[in-house]
Amino acid sequence: MPPGGQNNDHESQGLTPQADECKDETKMTREMTGAEMVIQALKDQGVDTIFGYPGGAVLPIYDEIIQQEGLEHILVRHEQGAGHAAEGYARSTGKPGVALVTSGPGATNMVTALTDAMLDSIPLVCISGQVPTHLIGNDAFQECDTVGITRPCTKHNWLVRDVDDLARVLHEAFYVATSGRPGPVVVDIPKDVQFATGTYQGPTPNPAAAHKSYRPQIKGDAASIRMAAEMMAAAKKPVLYTGGGVINSGPQACQLLRELVSLTGFPITSTLMGLGAYPASGDNWLGMLGMHGTYEANMTMHDCDLMVCIGARFDDRITGRTDAFSPGSRKIHIDIDPSSINKTINVDLPIIGDVAHVLEDLVRIWRSSSMKPDAAALKDWWKEIDQWRARNSLAYKPNNDVIMPQYAIQRLYDLTKHRKTFISTEVGQHQMWAAQFYGFEEPNHWLTSGGLGTMGYGLPAAIGAQVAHRDALCVDIAGDASILMNIQEMSTAVQFGLPVKVFILNNQYMGMVRQWQQLLHGNRLSHSYTESLPDFVKLAEAYGGVGFRVEKPGDLDGAIEEMIAVDKPVLFDCRVANLTNCFPMIPSGKAHNEMLLPDEANDEAVANAISAEGKSLV
């Protein structure tokens, strides 16, 4: 959340617009049913869109939805779709996403999306219906222990047994979801509580101060920030390693990050989740780091003497072998979540706080103390980095007959970069190629399932983004296997006139599974080939959308232009080279400086890339 944004700021204590409205006493407390309270609380929290699916235990809330205006309900085709759509909405707007589902299967279908939001720190408020309180524990029809099931995959959850608690809990849910490290929350509401009448209370103006136990630290420790600045000024081989926390912290954090880069001249790399915080066209950009990151980014991380980790969490896709991770560096870690500090990698200087607040102080100290980076050392460092860059680790062999998947992404990028474009992805090779070859200039334009790796995320996420940005181009870069995991949401897109474009890199394989089978299991391709794929063009038409199929590189540009021009949901079946591997790659169990580069990856190198110990890793 941006400083001064919703519910989050200790310092300014500024009333949010919603809170201002609630100064109206009649709105503050008034008698209404639980179902009415849900709608009122959502409106008071500034919600304009919810994604949901009705069912027995939420009928009273749906009865209120149809009788009001101002809150748009997007009917999905599967509750998981509602969750991912809410995530896409949240990621592309910076506001919390809201989903509404029924009890039992409605709630269990949400579990994947909740876990996804948990791992990627996406603010998500899920409201679920529950069987009436007197039936709880009776194995009633469509009953499940929703709070029990969702406890480990939410930041917090509540079962509301008393209608007089409902309004308070709903407001608290928004506070918890959006403050500190954001995440998903569930409010489980039994049907009798939805019918019961109670007293509604508006949101508290300063929920952070009012909350009895959850008050995350926003401001970083001043002495530590000064020490960080001094370490940065003294560094000879520095690198900035940034992550999704910068984007969660808001546009101001991204602005400050850019300022910091231009002040220091430091090289910068980012995790998958952090793409767009610093522009891909920026001079200091090294590309993404990690398992499928660039050679220059990983070598810079390995050889640096100072690593400044900003809003990232040393995930295993990033570090490779932890005992060989950046052995010669001192490490500064800026994170709002104290449990991220020293979790996998020991750091020398932890700074707990919101990225925007910490960077604001850091930039101020840097300027006011007229600090300067070690220019001579930095020049040598860049010379080294430029040699790694010259290795051109993303290179691939162009082909005139078959579309190379990397080429398809490059063409998509070139033909869409001048527009307001949001890119979502499914999970697999296409996701990595999208991260490598699509250049993100701004935050919040890249929606991907990073932590959980949820196939089926991309289409509903694109729908969520499109709902929030009706005039934008929303493209789901998909694989032929992933897209089938939530294909039913095409129907949602058609119903609500959401012209999302699904750009399928179709190689007929679960490409990443096949690549790992090649690397780890003697190329025995067990169940990673889809023998019968649907005809995606006909499928698009069956849903009421438009289908394209392209098989030749020469036809690609024209078809992409056509796809963009169509004002309907599109399935774009881009037939690509079947057996392409995604490189460069840090094989499991290897360090940053042991990358497998595309030009070295012959069959033998691929077959021997992973050691016996590495094979047991994921």
Partner: protein, 190 residues
């Protein structure tokens, strides 16, 4: 999570990183609401942490606050993780590592006590020996027939372990233990 709970991050605070397994006693102040214990326990099982002992009871009735005392083992890095992970839970007001507190105050350990009920059967010399040892350990007999005693014993975990071991050959039948209750020494509270 509470901002005041976060230790002021000093540079290089983990200068002496040790990989030795240590036993620490953590004290948590939590809202006494449904599910709070499940959250705490679920965190331990979900993340593969150890629980050696767990004691829970409401301690401030008017504020509905419970105190949970957990004895856990792990490397200092893992115990630090446990503390922060617990602190992240919304109904947790405060997490204190009493072992670290005691060390900082140059004390050996925090105050830790456990209560155990120990049932022993036997006749003749064994029975007398059990009674004598109960006396030596300052255990109280709270139930007895001609064939058995139930001892109530309070003390540090090591004392209770020792008492139970000694009772084994003297006809130990069963034991019920409360788990560790702990406070830091000195006048200050949490």
């Amino acid at each position: 999570m509470n901002a005041q709970n976060v230790d002021a991050p000093s540079a290089y605070f983990l200068a002496e990183v040790s990989n030795e397994i240590e036993t620490h006693t953590l004290s948590l102040l939590v809202d006494n609401e449904p599910g709070v214990l499940a959250r705490v326990i679920g965190l331990f099982s979900g993340r593969g942490y150890n629980i050696d002992s767990l004691t829970v009871s409401e301690t401030e009735h008017e504020k509905h606050l419970s105190r949970i005392t957990i004895v856990t083992t792990g490397t200092p890095m893992i115990i630090e993780q446990i503390r922060h992970q617990l602190d992240r839970l919304v109904p947790v007001h405060r997490v204190t590592d009493l072992t670290v507190r005691a060390r900082r105050a140059n004390q050996d350990k925090p105050l830790e006590r456990e209560l155990a009920l120990v049932k022993v059967t036997g006749t003749g010399e064994k029975r007398l020996e059990a009674l004598r040892l109960g006396d030596a350990f300052r255990a109280t007999v709270i139930d007895a027939t001609t064939e058995h005693f139930v001892f109530e014993i309070t003390g540090r975990t090591s004392k209770i372990e020792q008492f139970i071991t000694i009772m084994k050959p003297l006809g130990l039948v069963e034991v019920s233990r409360t788990g560790v209750a702990a406070l830091q020494r000195g006048p200050e509270g949490l």
